[in-house]
Amino acid sequence: MIQMFHVSKTYPKDVVALSDITLHIQKGEFVFLCGPSGAGKTTLLRLIFRDELPTDGQILVNGRNVVRLRESKLPALRRSIGVIFQDFKLLMDRTVYDNLHLVTRVLGIPETISRRKIGRLLKEVGLLQKADQIPYSLSGGEQQRVAIARALVSDPAILLADEPTGNLDPDLALDVMRLLAEVNIRGTTVVVATHNPKLVAEMGHHTLILKQGRLVEEIP
């Protein structure tokens, strides 16, 4: 599903974020991406949905070479990937519902289906009664859960979750992880970047450990 061959990423001013990464994530896998702050986790995820291009190496996602992808094919790639951003990227002046609705509109999902789906997801993250509030008036953890729901609303083939539990208490974090696991069981490939080693230990999945841009360990 996701393959990287000798991928490196150097940001301007010679900031090396990733170097020589080779990895293979199977279709339907649930993978943890661990490592200290600044290790390159977010960068790796951004390469997958082509928010950045690698400085070197090749990346295959769903059989498509992301590095050589033509601009016109980019929307199709991104539609198949759900992303939970580390900084949420919610629109602070739209209601929670509208934040999710934005995605279903882009995807052209009919209204009736969209409404049902959004309702179900908001219920799953425990925010149904906050649907008409703006994220600005939500707590940090509530905002994070909106971001999670939004990433799932498109039923993506791949889900990239960047530190999805940083603002959640342990109970909620476990709930969210269970939700992601469920999504995974229904067939979605899930990659979770986190530095919560307790979570990783509890779930016991395939784990990639990054350190200073290098893949230092792989626990199958």
Binding site: L74, P75, A76, R79, L102, V103, V106
Partner: protein, 300 residues
């Protein structure tokens, strides 16, 4: 499917529009103001040049004939004048009529003419000159060549007045072009800046849309439509305001206006074509401004 998508885009446009709030109002207002000012100039230029043209029409060239002219010579002169491009119409004034005219002119001092034995005034052709030939140059040439004909004693034309009016029209044209240019650039500037602000204000939304897989067209078309709509609405609003101003000014002036413009079918508003052109231009400006702003901002 296509229709569905089109409807969606329109819906999106109106949604953005509603969401814009104060910003959209400000934008339409700015465009309206640019067009209003341009419109005021257009209206002034149009009306004033009509006034000047009518006034200019009054100025005549007079061809005085020799008392010794034969009938045949006169016919020749008349033919020559009829064939002249610059001449709109020709009226013959006999010696008798000239004297009657003169008597009328010096009303109150008719006693001056009491001692006359013979009529000293010459017969003449009174010419009215087409507007586009009312330049000192053309009339000078015309006069010179006529003077060379047999039977013509002298040619008079209101040289000073012709030159004054000619240069007044010239000044107005140049000013019109200069001001029109300035305001055209200003309008484009305002529209592009407004849309830039709109794009900027929506930068986050656009980024998110791109990240969840929206196509370029999906993002850009509503913005461009919005600019077009804003431009058109702004121009239409300007037209409305212009009409109100126009009516208001006329009302204020009351009879005064009819006095200046008496006899001319003046105090006319912009014609339908001008009005349509203005709204169309507004929409075009809005669209182009958006396109520029969108392309520029959404490059990557």
């Amino acid at each position: 499917m296509l229709w569905e998508r089109f409807r969606h885009l329109l819906g999106e446009t109106f949604l953005n529009f509603r969401r814009g709030g104060w910003g959209v109002i400000a934008s339409i207002g700015a465009i309206a103001i640019a067009f209003l000012v341009t419109g005021i100039f257009l209206l002034l230029t149009l009306n004033l040049s009509t006034v000047v043209a009518r006034w200019a029409e009054d100025f005549q060239v007079v061809v005085f004939l020799d008392d010794t002219i034969t009938k045949k010579q006169r016919t020749l002169v008349q033919k020559r004048l009829d064939g002249e491009m610059a001449v709109r119409d020709v009226t013959y004034l006999s010696k008798k009529e000239a004297l009657a005219d003169f008597r009328r002119k010096i009303r109150g001092q008719e006693s001056l003419l009491e001692g006359l034995k013979t009529n000293p005034l010459p017969a003449s052709f009174q010419l009215r000159i087409r507007e586009q030939y009312q330049t000192a140059d053309v009339l000078g040439h015309l006069a010179a060549s006529l003077k060379r004909m047999e039977g013509i004693e002298d040619v008079l034309y209101g040289q000073e007045w012709v030159e004054r009016l000619t240069s007044l029209i010239e000044v107005m044209k140049i000013l019109g072009i200069v001001i029109g240019g300035v305001l055209g650039v200003a309008s484009l500037f305002i529209v592009a800046n407004t849309i830039r602000m709109a794009v900027y204000a929506r930068a986050q939304e656009i980024e998110i849309m791109r990240l969840v897989g929206a196509t370029r067209a999906y993002i850009q078309i509503p913005l461009i439509l919005e600019g077009t709509l804003q431009g058109g609405l702004g121009a239409a609003l300007a037209l409305g305001l212009l009409y109100a101003l126009f009516r208001g000014t006329l009302w204020q002036l009351g009879t005064t206006a009819s006095m200046i413009f008496a006899g001319t079918e003046l105090t006319q508003f912009l014609e339908a074509e001008y009005r349509m052109a203005m709204v169309g231009l507004g929409a075009l400006l809005g669209g182009v401004g958006s396109l520029v702003a969108v392309r520029r901002f959404l490059k990557v």
